[in-house]
């Protein structure tokens, strides 16, 4: 067991790992970087901690562009520490923390607080997302420049949970963030078309009597926004796209050369509105679960590159906010610890994506969109920061909300058997997860 005196990190040898699902090699991590990549079984292991990684896939550390960490304000549901611990367990080395906290992350002070809490926790890089408008109220711009210039160096701005629905305000935001290479991440939900809405509007809503949330409420905003982005020459990111029509609009926009990126959540890759028949608020989420045809369309969109990334929209909620009537329950579901498994199940095991593609949609692309590509979402190569995730794709596990690292139990995959297991996660060479279990900072050297 050796400890590098400059970084205090252990030297690890990942023996027989398959980078991006390719040929097996030994990967040596030392000094916070990938120190050596050699033929399998040839790395010198004296003094190093060996991680047996035969048949395990090595990915760049996952980057989530869309996480709700709830702190400050709702520490009863999640904290920066508990949420990033869950992120590490899920294979993430960086998360973007959404702005809908209390107080809202609409000032340099709040984003710096969240950023600092992330550093203190040490489980993953925390990049705060700044609110587009003061208090998420959609009335006037928050001080975007101050947040960009702050220690948190905010580059992603979103009123997520609410839509920047005023077209003039959206135009201004798209233009303004160009000054510091920012991006507006839009939660596309036309508010008037979704007043009181509870679930996808369609066959199931007509039968179960829950107020419908039409696909057009999402698609109309995306259509408007891509045209605005084209007009002012800005980049736009579309959060949690969920309908077949949204995929078509983004595909069209990209074909016109519009600078738009889009994300899909793991749950929209697999779950449908049929689950509302149970009236179990675990399945209440914004945007709502859609139809099987929409699920197929977002999978195809992710496979053909129309959709750039998978982002979790991890939305922890307390028991009391979910243990109630559907109509009274909060929107949202957790996702950090199941995202990679769902992507494997829906995209890799179906042949739609390779592991290299997974690295693209869960690491490189979100890092690039969030402008953290200098440290995250890097190639697996000597000299690169050792932000890595080791996955056993042959493992299966049955999901139970109670034994997850997140502080909330509202996983929609309870009882599901999912493929793949994160065996280890490394953040700048430090193991945040080993043998599938989180490793407290400072404990590793004593092992």
């Amino acid at each position: 067991m050796s400890t590098d005196p400059t970084t205090g990190t252990t030297t690890y040898v990942l023996r027989g790992a398959r980078p991006l699902g390719g040929d097996a090699v030994d990967v040596v991590l030392a000094g916070g970087v990938v120190a050596e990549i050699t033929a399998a079984g040839t790395a010198r292991v004296d003094g190093a901690t060996v991680v047996e990684a035969a048949d395990h896939v090595l990915l760049p550390g996952l980057v989530d562009l869309h996480t709700h960490l709830r702190e400050p304000g709702r520490e009863d549901a999640e904290t920066v520490a508990s949420g990033t611990r869950a992120a590490a367990v899920g294979g993430f080395t960086a998360v973007h923390a959404m702005a809908n906290t209390s107080p809202v992350a609409d000032t340099a002070g709040v984003v710096e607080q969240v950023h600092r809490l992330g550093e203190q926790a040490g489980w993953a890089d925390v990049h705060p997302v700044g609110a587009v408008t003061v208090g998420l109220d959609g009335v006037r711009l928050a001080e975007l420049g101050a947040m960009a210039d702050s220690a948190a160096r905010v580059r992603v701005f979103s009123d997520d949970g609410r839509c920047v629905h005023d077209p003039v305000l959206m135009r201004r935001a798209l233009e303004y963030v160009k000054a510091f290479d920012g991006v507006v991440a839009q939660h596309a939900q036309e508010p008037r078309l979704t007043e009181g809405a509870q679930m996808n509007e369609g066959v199931v809503s007509s039968q179960v009597g829950l107020a419908g949330w039409p696909a057009v409420a999402e698609e109309a905003i995306i259509a408007r926004d891509v045209l605005l982005a084209e007009h002012v020459g800005s980049r736009l990111h579309v959060c949690h796209l969920s309908t077949a029509g949204s995929v078509e609009i983004v595909r069209w926009a990209k074909s016109r050369g519009i600078d738009v990126t889009a994300e899909v959540t793991p749950h929209h890759l697999v779950l449908t509105d049929e689950l509302a028949r149970t009236y179990d608020p675990t399945y209440k989420v914004n945007p709502p679960l859609r139809t099987a045809a929409d699920v197929e369309a977002v999978r195809q969109g992710l496979a053909d590159g129309t959709i750039d990334i998978v982002a979790t929209d991890h939305a922890p909620h307390t028991r009391e906010d979910k243990d109630c009537e559907w109509g009274a329950a909060a929107f949202g579901m957790t996702g950090l610890e199941t995202a990679l498994s769902v992507v494997q199940q829906t995209m890799v095991d179906t042949g739609l994506l390779s592991w290299a593609d997974v690295a693209r949609v869960l690491s490189a692309n979100p890092a690039r969109i969030g402008r953290v590509e200098a440290t995250q979402g890097r190639p697996i190569a000597v000299g690169e920061p050792a932000n890595l995730t080791l996955v056993d794709p042959a493992a299966t596990r049955t999901i139970d909300g109670a034994d997850q690292a997140t502080a909330s139990a509202n996983t929609p995959f309870r009882g599901h058997e999912l493929p793949g297991r994160v065996v280890a996660t490394f953040l700048r060479g430090r193991a945040t997860v080993l043998d599938g279990a989180p490793v407290e900072a400072g404990v590793v050297g004593a092992r």
Binding site: R192, E195, Q198, E201, G202, V203, V204, S205, S206, Q207, V208, G209, L210, A211, G212, P214, T278, Y279, D280, E320, D323, C324, E325, W326, G327, A328
Partner: protein, 333 residues
């Protein structure tokens, strides 16, 4: 038969059995002593998260005529307004030993949750949930239709009194009005279809749900054409809530006057109904809006009788859930 949550869960045999039991209950109600000892010592809780004096009184009367102890629990403060949660209410009722819970709730699915969340092991009767279901209303409607019209359908075995044993095969029922927000319409479409009747929904397009094309019924925007060309045996008028015509840009139709003009059952339309046709309304009525006084008070109207039949149907439902054949236990009705 463990719960009565949705008419979509009922088989034809179960539905006919319920109506036949209701007929037996109705027969007892013409006696001088109306009270039966059937549910003596059993406790029925009327759990109302939404005001509905009519429905509550109907269930209360039904339970008392069966000698059950009745507790009325008004829980208007819901978890939305930070009152007691549905779960805690259910646990409380469980601790008090309720045998059956009659629940009215503003939230679609709340009775389903009460029945399935494991908070409570009492029988759950859905007395109307949100815009989802109102099974006893549909059963009393079917009972009323059968009493008046089963002889006209093909489902009548040998002209038994009150249509006992019959289904509603061959009968045509028009349901007119705010289908979108109506639990009565959803409950009726499912049950009438199960019983073999044909249903046409008639409403302005704004009050028809997206997805209705998958329902087992026809849809029309034209009441006059439906009355003249389709010749319904029963016309069921739905209540139009005042709030549906306010809200400016969000209003579902331009004015009450225009609604009445196209979808109201006025004297002119009443006169075009077949001689044997009946006029129904779940109440409370907006006279002059969806139904005119002439129609409401005509001899085709069976609206008051619906109320009386409601008691018999609810007696039947309580009886079958609480004292019914134990071999059917665990079988959601």
């Amino acid at each position: 038969m463990k719960h009565l949550l949705s008419t979509a869960d009922l088989s034809k045999q179960e539905a006919v059995g319920l109506l036949d039991t209701a007929a037996q209950m109705a027969a007892t109600q013409s006696r001088e002593i109306k009270k039966l000892p059937t549910l003596r010592g059993r406790t029925v809780v009327n759990l109302f998260f939404e005001d509905s004096t009519r429905t509550r009184i109907s269930f209360e009367t039904a339970a008392k005529r069966l000698s059950a102890d009745v507790i009325n629990f008004s829980a208007k403060g819901s978890s939305v307004s930070k009152g007691e949660s549905l779960k805690d209410t259910a646990l409380t009722l469980h601790a008090m030993g309720a045998d059956a819970v009659v629940v009215r709730h503003w939230a679609s699915g709340a009775p389903y949750q009460l029945a399935h969340a494991g908070w409570l092991d009492a029988a759950v009767l859905n007395a109307g949930d949100g815009t989802h279901m109102h099974p006893t209303q549909a059963l009393l409607d079917a009972y009323t239709i059968r009493r008046h019209l089963a002889v006209r359908g093909s489902g009548l075995p040998g002209g038994a009194a009150d249509g006992v044993g019959a289904d509603l095969a061959g009968l045509r029922v028009a349901i007119v009005g705010d289908v979108l927000h109506s639990r009565v319409a959803r409950a009726n479409v499912a049950l009438l279809r199960t019983l073999g009747a044909e249903v046409t929904l008639v409403a302005p397009p704004t009050l028809v749900p997206v997805g209705v094309e998958t329902w087992p019924c026809r849809t029309s925007y034209d009441l006059d054409a439906t009355l003249d060309d389709w010749r319904p045996d029963a016309v069921m008028m739905l209540r139009v809530q005042r709030e549906r015509m306010s809200g400016g840009a969000g209003a579902f139709f331009p004015s009450p006057l225009e609604y009445s003009r196209y979808y109201g059952l006025d004297a002119r339309r009443l006169a075009r109904l077949a001689d044997h046709a009946i006029v129904m309304h779940p109440g409370p009525m907006n006279r002059g809006l969806e139904i005119s006084a002439e129609a409401a008070d005509s001899d085709k109207a069976v609206i008051v009788e619906q109320v009386a039949n409601g008691i018999a149907v609810r007696m039947a439902a309580l009886y079958l859930l609480m004292a019914g054949d134990s071999s059917a236990e665990g079988n959601d009705l």
